[in-house]
Symmetry: C3
Subunit: 145 residues, 3 copies
């Protein structure tokens, strides 16, 4: 099955999926580092282990966590449906745009979230919703035509 990545659509998808997965790992690591630096742990044993007194949630940790939560709600669906979409043929140009715009918009969404920039965060979120809106419609079209 090693020639799957010879397909141009699969190549773009693989790069985008890789970037988005590394982004998720980066965010999770960032949250872990921030919790260690600033507190805002989720469990009593986390406070005990670090010899700290339990405190209220930390504002910065909570903001990064909300940005990550938004990724968790959107990226895994894209990864699964995007693979199906890439495997199901269709125009490589359309796929390229769908994959690249989604990936770029998710990176920008986090930047705008952490910088608390509105309405840019909402605008880029809407841009990032084009991919999960367009792929299903094209999948249905390819299946029933």
């Amino acid at each position: 099955m090693a020639d799957l990545l010879a397909d141009p659509t699969l190549r773009v998808f693989a790069i985008c999926a890789a970037i988005l997965t590394l982004k998720l790992v980066f965010m999770v690591t960032l949250i872990g580092v921030l919790r260690n630096l600033r507190g805002g742990h989720l469990n009593p044993e986390d406070y005990r282990f670090r010899g700290r007194t339990p405190g209220p949630p930390d504002e910065l940790v909570e903001r990064v966590r909300r940005a990550h939560q938004n990724d968790v709600e959107n990226i895994p669906v894209f990864l699964a449906v995007g693979l199906l979409f890439a495997l199901s043929g269709g125009s490589p140009t359309v796929a390229w745009w769908v994959f690249v715009v989604f990936t770029a918009s998710r990176l920008l969404h986090t930047v705008f979230y952490l910088a608390a920039l509105q309405p840019w965060r909402s605008v880029i979120f809407a841009v990032g919703s084009v991919a999960p809106g367009v792929m299903p419609v094209l999948l249905i079209w390819r299946t029933i035509r």
Copy 2:
């Protein structure tokens, strides 16, 4: 790879995956619209941008968000494992039932959640757990036999 959708199991999976993805996009859009209409934002800058005073969470927004959260916990796993399941052969009839029952049950789950209908929400949730329960067992069976 354009003939993947010639396979009857993949065709059913593609339609179900498309419906479930559109459902997620719809719910996210609904939450956004409701937050704009009723408040219940997550961030101070969201209130500032709309010139509102920060308030407590809105009950309707929170209910839609909980229904969506339940989707987030269940649909992406189905999309990924369902694709593997569809690609790994087996009876198209079994796949059809697994995919269609899951998809229908997720749609009904949201209806029952928004209408606050118990025990129907719990019953349909259990029905929707058949797919992620049966697919792994059949995958293991296909692999080791």
Copy 3:
């Protein structure tokens, strides 16, 4: 497409994906059972249906929910990217290690979470982050080389 599971990498992935999916179903069921036994429901109608007075969140339910939430943030991404990774060729030995270590670390993570064992929960979480860190790098390498 029935010979996909003839590929050794796909076979290991299928087994790991099956175990992780069953784990998610188990955790969701456990949360449901605990809520029924101990309370800590999310909705007013859940309390009404069981004839209970709404109460504060239950500590044990919340702990299992947090462990499950951590799964939801990590397992679907692995299932989607792991399938792409398994389909894209490469060394079966590397794939075996990536898949098996991730799966084992997620099982142990839940054990350590429920037992409130630190720093072991953090250590095994880091081990479980190797797979979503390594797969994207290898995917990019396979695509651009």
